[in-house]
Amino acid sequence: MSRLRALLARELRLSLRHGSDSLAAVLFFLLAGALFPLAIGPAPETLGRIAPGIVWVCALLAALLPLDRLFGADHEDGSLDLLLLSGLPAAGVALGKAVSHWLVTGVPLLLAAGPLAVMLRMPDEAIPALLLGLLPGTAVLSLFGTLGAAMVLGARRGGVLLPLLVLPLAAPVLIFGVAAADAASVGLAARPHLLLLSALFAAALPLCPLAAGAALRGAVE
């Protein structure tokens, strides 16, 4: 446990020092979201209707941005070998990376999602459901993303392969996340969709690090 904390501290210090990862993801998220009113017109009824979808798709794409470097930098400079020898099981290394990805990318996206939703004229009653869905949703995206990043590690053109691997996995997250916000905006219960999202999270939390850990072992062999 203390090794996991030390790994998290290391990851957070590295991302703070480089700093650009969170900023790039959040700026991409806000800018991509801001393109929609320009493209489809600012009419509140159209925009408000599709706003949950816009926020979710932009969050999904923004979360993909830093995945390429999640293990890539450590793999290139030999740090990954040492992390795997640090006493943490490979799955623990993957879990630490997933948590740090969520803290560095997921949480800033979560914070930026509210303002973007307001900007897109999303109905007020849908916003809590959107944010509640994004909370487990971004965590699941971090877990799937970590899995994808570990799997393409060492592959040539892994950066191209990565979205192809992660985006299909992320489809259920998108479906339930948008459905929760849509249901809330027409006065239906968002709870079932949120529960399904949480179930996805509960399943991904142990499974993704295990699979990613096995992939990491394969990558350093």
């Binding site: 290391r10 020092r17 400079d77 795997l84 020898l85």
Partner: protein
Amino acid sequence: MDRNQCARTGKVLQAAGLAAMRGERLVFSQIGFTVPRGGALLLEGPNGSGKSTLLRVLAGLGRAEVGSLTWNGEDVLSDRTAHAARVAYLGHQDAVKPGLGVAENLAFWGDAAAVARALERMGLQRLAELPARMLSAGQRRRLALARLALSAAPLWLLDEPTLGLDTASVGGLGGLLADHRAGGGVVVAATHLPLPLPGADRLRMAA
């Protein structure tokens, strides 16, 4: 060989019949050796003879196709996470993060006091606050060696440890290795350059 037998003969690291592939190519085969407590083994051979690959197998990072590898009579290859706790590995690469400071680079591997001692040991204490991107190649290597000095692991696996080091630092490394061996630790090193490892066994690997 069981644990009692190992204790009697004093051999802690034993390998027999190891072979490893890289892609489709057999890198080495029929590698066997024993290293006693406090002992050292030098891997020698031309480029491409599999010295680095063997070190990675010994670390539990690489995979051996066949053969057995035991530490104190316990099988290494079946539980690589447990083996990791016994290993300190210094690869080709220094694994130094240029964005972090010199001392910060070691923060994951030990507490502040231990890091300060390790830096002093490798003569880096005056550079502790400097960003690691300012270091020269030899200083980066010394930082990687300072990480080694932080480790309490009994098995040190060193891949060309003196690459880029000046004479004084090679002497410092010699002291580090001698202390480690005096404490019962084992060193396995691959090198083309003379290493300060008195009384080390040699394993010649053919290309």
